[in-house]
């Protein structure tokens, strides 16, 4: 379904991705965990070409893009847009269009990109807003929505393009703790429905629950990957172990209600 091979990306002198390879089967959920600055977000942004990789190969469905130093400039605006339309992306900071209502945000893709009739787009958008639990918020502008509601609108907006894969970039990191659940709930539901997803997350417990494969990324490469029970509970690589140990200790430091 998705195949990433030997992906490299540098920002100036900073080498962020150092030959990442990742395979994602149709209908499976891959969670990427790892310390900040390890290249997780850059990897996601490269998959839908918001960043253009320096080297490597990306295949999504039957579309394939190859990158090597010299052919980067040839990627036309039209091809890039078509490639991106097939992948949905949800961002840490929602990035809703503030001048459009929730409904307008969800309809934007179908109407502007797919040139769908307004009525048809509206039907789809209403259905998707209902799916993320916001049937009654269609006419609300983003500024009148809570963070959790905004992120759910953003998920509906991505789904409206009927993408073959969803890329979720730390979608709960900017949320107040009490709003995290409602967003993770929607993502879990998508996973159950068989949506192919790549999720960058700090919620290790969530990754454990929802992911088929967890990949640990550090310093621009995927260090280790495997089913959650293996990677999270019995990591082999010392770096993975170190990261998870720090993470668990951090979590355990907090008193828990008994």
């Amino acid at each position: 379904m998705i195949e990433i091979t030997g992906l490299w990306k540098a920002f100036g002198a900073l080498q962020v991705l150092k030959g990442v390879s990742l395979e994602v089967e149709r209908g499976s959920v891959v969670a990427i965990i790892g310390p900040s600055g390890s290249g997780k977000s850059t990897l996601l942004r490269c998959i839908n070409l918001l960043e253009d990789p320096d080297r490597g190969r990306i295949r999504v469905g039957d579309r394939e893009m190859r990158f090597s130093g010299d052919n980067r400039a040839k990627l036309g605006d039209r091809e890039l847009s078509a490639f991106r339309a097939a992948t949905g992306m949800v961002f840490q900071h929602f990035n809703l269009f503030p001048h459009m209502t929730a409904l307008g945000n969800v309809m934007a893709g179908p109407i502007i990109v797919k040139r769908m009739a307004k009525r048809e787009a509206e039907d789809i958008a209403r259905e998707l807003l209902a799916k993320v639990g916001l049937a009654d918020k269609g006419n609300a502008y983003p500024m009148h929505l809570s963070g959790g509601q905004r992120q759910r609108v953003a998920i509906a907006r991505a789904l409206a393009m009927n993408p073959s894969v969803m890329l979720c970039d730390e979608v709960t990191s900017a949320l107040d703790p009490e709003l995290v659940g409602e967003v993770l709930g929607v993502i879990e539901q998508l996973a159950k429905e068989g949506m192919t997803m790549i999720i960058v997350t700090h919620e290790v417990a969530f990754a454990h629950e929802v992911a088929d494969i967890v990949a640990f990324m550090s310093d621009g490469i995927i260090v280790e990957s495997g089913p959650p029970a293996q990677l999270l509970d019995h990591p082999e690589n010392p770096r993975t172990r170190g990261f998870l140990a720090r993470f668990h200790r951090f979590v355990d430091d907090f008193p828990r209600p008994s």
């Binding site: 039209r78 847009s81 900071h93 269009f97 001048h99 934007a108 893709g109 502007i112």
Partner: protein, 225 residues
């Protein structure tokens, strides 16, 4: 009316020159509106093209903007009227030089307002719009510009209000605007104090309501944020 210095103020003679004053005001307003519209075209093209990453496009535009922003308008008017004809060997009538300079001058400021407005839109908006497959021009038209225009309106209104005052400088090359006609009346009556006071009052009466309107619009825009 006699003031402390013994000068006997008398505005009554101005009534006899009312048509000259009114036509001057008409010319001032026509120049203002005309050069705002032309300047807007220039500024729109310049501002949007300056967002390009191509240096061949942006470098000359940057030069244009900075040359017009960093030299006095009065010098520009004089230069275009007296020096440019010598350089290009073609006579430029005063009204052409006046329109040209005023449009280019305000256009340089509009260009910065437009460029600044567009680049003030957060990168996340581009990301989100690109991620659902919008092409560059679609992002611009449906996502960036609707938000940017709202931010551009207050500085645009301020710059346009200033433009009405700027037009008074064309009087130096004998374009018959409000100030120039005031000078003519002064020459005929030897009463500069009354004439220039009246001219100042007229500028104020036109501009003050416009600044109030601009403030009102600005407040309305701020509230809808």
């Amino acid at each position: 009316m006699v003031t402390g210095t013994g000068y006997a103020w008398d505005f009554s003679f101005l009534w006899g020159y009312r048509w000259l004053i009114l036509t001057g005001l008409g010319v001032t307003i026509a120049y203002t509106i005309g050069t705002i519209l032309l300047g807007l075209l220039v500024g729109l093209a310049t501002g949007l093209l300056r967002l390009s990453r191509n240096l061949v496009v942006t470098a000359p535009l940057l030069a244009y903007v900075e040359i017009f922003r960093c030299t006095p308008l009065l010098v520009q008017i004089v230069w275009f009227y007296y020096a440019l004809p010598v350089v290009i060997g073609i006579d430029i009538p005063a009204h052409v030089a006046a329109v040209l300079v005023l449009s280019l001058y305000t256009g340089a400021f509009y260009a910065e307002i437009i460029r600044g407005g567009v680049s003030s839109i957060e990168r996340g908006q581009w990301d989100a719009a690109r991620a659902i497959g919008m092409r560059r021009h679609q992002v611009m038209r449906h996502v960036v510009l609707p938000q940017a225009v709202k931010r551009m309106i207050p500085p645009f209104m301020n710059q346009s209000i200033i433009q009405l005052k700027n037009t008074s400088l064309v009087s130096t090359i004998a374009v018959a605007d409000l100030l120039y006609n005031g000078t003519i009346i002064t020459a005929a009556t030897y009463r500069p104090l009354e004439v220039y006071t009246a001219v100042a009052v007229i500028y104020f009466l036109v501009l003050f309501p416009l600044t109030l309107a601009a403030q009102y619009v600005e407040r309305r825009l701020a509230r809808s944020d």
